[in-house]
Symmetry: C2
Subunit: 213 residues, 2 copies
DNA sequence: TAGATTGTTAATCGATTAACAATC
DNA sequence: TAGATTGTTAATCGATTAACAATC
């Protein structure tokens, strides 16, 4: 499970493996070969074996992979065998939606706080957590052990916040703001740029339309 | 602007180019060289020139690229020079959040309808659009010219919906359900798997933690 | 043991970077 | 014209696929 620079291409595929293995588990399937998984997921068996072997030998020749074991191991690799505390910054529609999303909790991501600069929102509750004013963020971070900040604010505010976050122990930012964040070494950023995603979709629509004519 | 199989890697970078060009435009910058853009965006100038040249020569030797022109051309490539009608299926927190998001409208994505199976939600409004019961979806699609369906429902419901969508003229699915959709040739799917994204983040936290010890 | 399937090396493919001639 | 910078070809790098020996 140690890491000698696994490519992000591989990491990006692990959650999908986990999902399919979870489904197999639920269906009571005990073992799976790379070939079976390959058909199920529409990727090559070769890629599956290569991917897994980045982290060590999880399988057994002549048998395949034990579904349960593989599921557990990939969970560990993804760091899902522990808990993370997160706060949401920006209590707009998206921020509140993410706060209400229970599936994150199941995976060990614990919703600890939600902040907004709008005093109107103060005191309202999102899944039992009271919205606090952004002015309280710093002291909250100091008093609580928060790992992840979820940024659901406009880009203008996001850039300035980074300093406050990292100097108060935030180790990762899940960034929904439409801007690239500049963070110090060791702080992780994962961007979710929804409008970028939508543009890719519109590209593919146009391209297909174009190719028909 | 024609397409001889541009790789999705290139397409995936176009929205980011567009964002930086938009910023330059706003700052009144008239021209930019691949090298300047390269520094701004932390990618190689070579990649920038290669990417643009997939679509034809947008620049001028000795001068660079005209910001305005390049912005317009990339917009067109991404299919942003036209309008798309979309409906949201699933009026939970995320669905409502996306319906309320005005920036999509600015890009030409027009919010036309929102549906849910829960009768409790019926009649409530999301940005002026009344939530309808899912039973009305089919007739609504037949009566209106909808291009894109945004799926913000649990995965169990999502798979069964695909048939209804594509047989009623939907050409693209923006899929927030945590499942892989099987669609006919020519129907575009763009997945936003939020929990996958969060897992990548947790992987990178754990990896960094691990590497310190 | 024979059959199956992994782990792993080698071959291929594609994407990125470097280099430079063309040209504004 | 001289300088700058593109467009494009060639070189490199990395990721994917194929092949097969190891082994359960």
């Amino acid at each position: 499970m140690q890491d000698k620079g696994i490519s992000q291409a591989v990491i990006g595929r692990l959650p999908r493996y986990l999902r399919y293995l979870g489904d197999l588990k639920e269906n009571g399937v005990e073992r799976v070969s790379s070939q079976e998984l390959s058909k199920l997921m529409s990727v090559t068996a070769s890629q599956i074996r290569q991917d897994f072997n980045n982290f060590g030998g999880f399988g057994q020749q002549g048998y395949g992979y034990n579904v349960d074991y593989l599921y557990t191991e990939i969970s560990k690799i993804l760091g899902l065998d522990r808990q993370y505390n997160f706060v949401i910054i920006g209590a707009g529609n998206l921020g509140r939606a993410l706060g209400n999303y229970l599936n994150f909790e199941r995976r060990g991501f614990i919703f600890k706080g939600i902040f907004d600069k709008d005093p109107e929102l103060e005191g309202r509750e999102v899944r039992g957590v009271k919205i606090k004013n952004i002015s309280e963020l710093e002291s909250f971070l100091k008093a609580n052990n928060i790992d992840i900040a979820v940024l659901t604010i406009p880009k203008t505010g996001a850039v300035g916040l980074v300093d406050v976050l990292v100097s108060n122990g935030i180790r990762a930012i899940w960034n929904f703001a439409h801007v690239d964040l500049d963070v110090p070494e060791g702080v992780q950023v994962e961007n979710v740029h929804l409008s970028d995603s939508l543009m890719k979709l519109s590209y593919n629509i146009s391209r297909y339309e174009g190719s028909k004519n």
